[in-house]
Amino acid sequence: MRRNRLRHLPLQILLMLALAAIMVFLLFPFYWTLVTSLKPERELYASRVTYWPNAPTLASYRKLFVEFRFVKPMLNSLLVAAGTTVISLTVSLLAAYAFSRYRFRGRRFFMTMFLTNNMFPTVLLLIPLYAIMRKLGILYTPTALILAYTTFTIPFSIWLLHGYLNDLPSSLEEAAMVDGANRAQAFVRIILPMMAPCIVATGAYVFMTSWNEYTFAVMFTNEANRTIPVALKNFIGQLGVEWGMLTAGGIITIIPVCIMFFFAQRRLVEGLTAGAVKG
């Protein structure tokens, strides 16, 4: 195949053009959002559309933070995402360890139970959770949102961590246990350090999905604790549409996501694709 590379040169070029076309389609919206956020108001609503701002300005960003206090929803989002990540990782790591290292009665039943969770429509959980949390009096608190997010983050984390753990031979802990450590010590001293990159990758994914989530957030938060996605959407309702500020908010939202994703990417992709490719 590689021998004939030169003969296939026109084909090669055609294929690279196809790739370029798909990539432009996928990335152009981000470019456009960035450009919009840098345009001054006057240019934004001019009759001629410009593809790079004539006079780039950070005015929209200043307005976002000074007039609309965007730091507040950012902190709310940070609190909810961090809380969800810590809780999901802790309970999921314990469960994944049990599924990976023990053979016990009901193992398959429980595993299937966790995995089927993700099949339930979001709106099927959203409506009753709203009623329940209203009764419990925790509606409009960060706790409500964190609990709601565990509905999809725990099953997902268990599945991912279970896959990673299965790749670590159990002879590792057994060797430590022969040396006199108990299972808990073996877990903390041997497994945790080796799993660290995988735990970070899983945590990054949980953090990103909680940071991004809108459907639960819009029903479970109020003015005081609304998260970024809700705040962004509300800007539309409040002010008609201010595209400069909206796009600036969008850029601010996605920067942390991109940074986390690029760091966690390799492990995450490995873990995600393992299940589908194996069988």
């Binding site: 809108y214 996605p229 962004l232 909206l246 939202t253 589908a276």
Partner: protein
């Protein structure tokens, strides 16, 4: 490892996850089932009572329910279908060797990790009838002569939201299929070369059969995900204009917002039942994998 003494441990280890999931998934699902048999409207909280199958009867005679169901079918079929086709193309292209492949692969995944709200907002701005860049591009290319308010008219709103969900879903398909492609042994293609097979034959005789399982699992996951998604449509059109972009998930969400929780639950249950037809074959595969693993 299998000492009898330890047999309690696995149950203790899964207990925290189990209790959480029972509380936030299984109790709510049962609650939804109960509410679907009740007149449960928070605008009239003192008149919550059992009404039997009344909500179900209302759903079946609600033209908007049937329309939303139809919209969901189109939304899923067109959305996931095109995600698959373009995702597969992207995976094949990214599987070839070229300089900068790593960074291109990373960049191609960004739409997948973008918040639904942001997707909605970005595309709403692109589709804008007055200042939208899509109108400007089409005008410059001479493809249209007047600006089109894509999201404001019924004929274009639904295709526009579908294009957006296609954009969102291409990366996930590409990601899974690329992993599958990398798992196909090179020898298969070498053997086919020796036999004088052409590229098309190799694609249909080697590539597609090898990826059968990946394609199946990924497609099922995407069908469930796309059918359930609310945020993209809601942030583009809120289901309008005139309900032309209202899928069943969005309809339930809108009903929930008006606090008619009983009727919303009924439709959510019906959506779950419809999706079960997709989920069951997926779970079968999952079971088979677990037995093998």
């Amino acid at each position: 490892m299998h000492r009898k003494r330890l047999v309690l441990w696995p149950y203790l280890l899964i207990l925290p996850a189990l209790l959480t999931i029972l509380a936030v998934v299984f109790v709510p699902v049962l609650k939804a089932l109960l509410m679907s048999f009740q007149s449960y409207d928070l605008r009239r909280p003192h008149r919550i009572r059992y009404t039997g199958l009344e909500n179900y009867g209302e759903a079946f005679s609600d033209p908007l329910f049937w329309q939303a169901l139809m919209k969901t079918a189109i939304w899923v079929a067109a959305g996931v279908g095109m995600q698959f086709i373009f995702g597969f193309m992207l995976a094949l292209l990214l599987n070839r060797r070229f300089p900068g492949r790593g960074i291109v692969r990373s960049l191609s995944l960004i739409p997948w990790v973008t918040p639904g709200v942001l997707i909605g907002l970005m595309w709403r701005w692109i589709y804008d009838g007055n200042y939208g860049v899509l109108n400007d591009l089409l005008l410059r290319l001479g493809l249209i002569h007047d600006k089109i308010p894509f999201l404001a008219q019924q004929s274009t709103a639904f295709p526009a939201v579908i294009l957006t969900i296609i954009w969102q879903g291409i990366p996930f398909f590409a990601l899974m299929l690329l992993a599958g492609l990398q798992g196909i042994p090179e020898e298969l293609y070498d053997a086919a070369d020796v036999d004088g097979a052409n590229a098309v034959q190799k694609f249909f005789r080697i590539t597609v059969p090898s990826l059968k399982n990946t394609i199946f699992v990924t497609t099922l996951l995407r069908i469930i995900w796309v059918a359930n998604s609310v945020d993209v449509i809601f942030n583009l059109t809120e289901g309008g204009p005139a309900y032309s972009t209202q899928t069943l998930s969005v309809y339930v969400f809108n009903k929930g917002n008006t606090l008619n929780l009983g009727y919303a639950s009924t439709m959510a249950i019906l959506l779950a039942l419809a999706l079960a037809t997709v989920a069951v074959p997926y779970l079968r595969i999952l079971f088979r994998q677990q037995e093998a693993g």
